[in-house]
């Protein structure tokens, strides 16, 4: 994850954090929500839209007043993080955001193999792709972005697992697949990615154990069996593992 220059860093993954060359800057809630919203959007937004989104149940006058208060309470290094015009608000050029880097990483992982955008990252990508976006934030605008990020990172983790597996890095590939499984225990595709890694590593017993764990979970939680596709993935392994 790159951290360019000595500017201001906003972290949204795993929780909100604002840093400028030192310990985290503590902000009041309204100011944190303002910076988080601008960081999620990553472009200039009309003040009226910002106020209406962040304070949706307030009157227009009250919402505008709350926005002015949130801006005024950006003290010290935090004030330099916002670029403000009479009409718009955005983040200043010296701000970097961890989500922007993580999104770029995920898109590179999902780019078609051989394209200029595709990369072969290592296990260092796993932590960035494992973190939730603004956990415990319940604003509509935050929930939608969190879900977008969840989908993107899950696909990227599965792509990373496949990429590492192809390069023979089975331990790292399993770690990437497990990160996806932890995020979506009931979803089949991360579990299939993990089983594929075990098979590629020549470990049919562990592949079957993972299949059994998933089958038990599905039966316990949902009362359904794994799909035919997943059963087919392990179908040939039963004979191999017979004593």
């Amino acid at each position: 994850m790159s951290q360019s220059g000595s500017g201001i860093r906003i972290s949204l993954l795993g929780g909100f954090r604002l840093e400028k060359e030192g310990p985290a800057i503590i902000l009041p809630e309204g100011s944190r929500r303002l910076l988080a919203f601008l960081a999620l959007k990553g472009r200039l937004i009309q003040r009226q839209t910002v106020a209406g989104t962040l304070w949706p149940v307030a009157t227009e006058v009250h919402a505008s007043s709350s926005l002015r208060s949130a801006l005024a309470r950006l003290r010290g290094g935090a004030r330099a993080s916002v670029a403000a015009t009479a009409r718009d608000l955005g983040l200043s050029d010296e701000v970097t955001v961890d989500l922007w880097d993580a999104r770029a990483l995920a898109h590179r992982l999902l780019a078609p193999t051989g394209s200029s955008a595709s990369v072969d990252p290592g296990p260092e990508a796993i932590p960035a792709l494992s973190a939730e976006l603004l956990p415990d934030w319940y604003d509509d605008w935050a929930l939608v972005e969190a879900e977008d990020w969840r989908q993107l990172r899950l696909h990227a983790l599965e792509a990373l697992a496949d990429s590492l597996m192809t390069r023979g890095k089975y331990g790292d590939a399993a770690a990437a697949a497990l990160a996806a499984v932890r995020a979506e225990p009931l979803r089949e595709s991360p579990r299939a990615a993990l089983i594929r890694v075990h098979i590629a590593e020549g470990n049919p017993t562990e592949a079957l154990r993972e299949f059994a764990r998933y089958g038990e979970l599905m039966m316990l939680e949902l009362g359904v069996e794994p799909t035919e596709r997943l059963r087919a993935l392990v179908a040939d392994l039963w004979a191999v593992t017979q004593p």
Binding site: D136, L222, E225
Partner: protein, 71 residues
């Protein structure tokens, strides 16, 4: 009963598991009060169960009616 001093929240995330006998997956998360976080997460495989869960959630929200003012 939910604490209506704050805001209760229910989210439904839906996806399909192609090839499953019951392909629908609907994950429901419930927060009694968004200030205290999600209270429960449940996943269902049929629409009727999802509707029932939503109805249970709404039934558990107490919204006191305004007092009747007689002329």
């Amino acid at each position: 009963m939910l604490d209506t001093a704050g805001t209760a929240l229910l989210t439904i995330r839906v996806w399909c598991e192609e090839g499953s006998e019951h392909p629908l997956r609907a994950e429901i998360k419930v927060a009694d009060d968004v200030a205290s976080g999600f209270r429960s997460t449940l996943t269902f495989v049929n629409a009727e169960a999802v509707v029932a869960a939503v109805r249970d959630f709404l039934d558990s929200v107490t919204c006191p009616a305004a007092p009747l003012i007689l002329p």
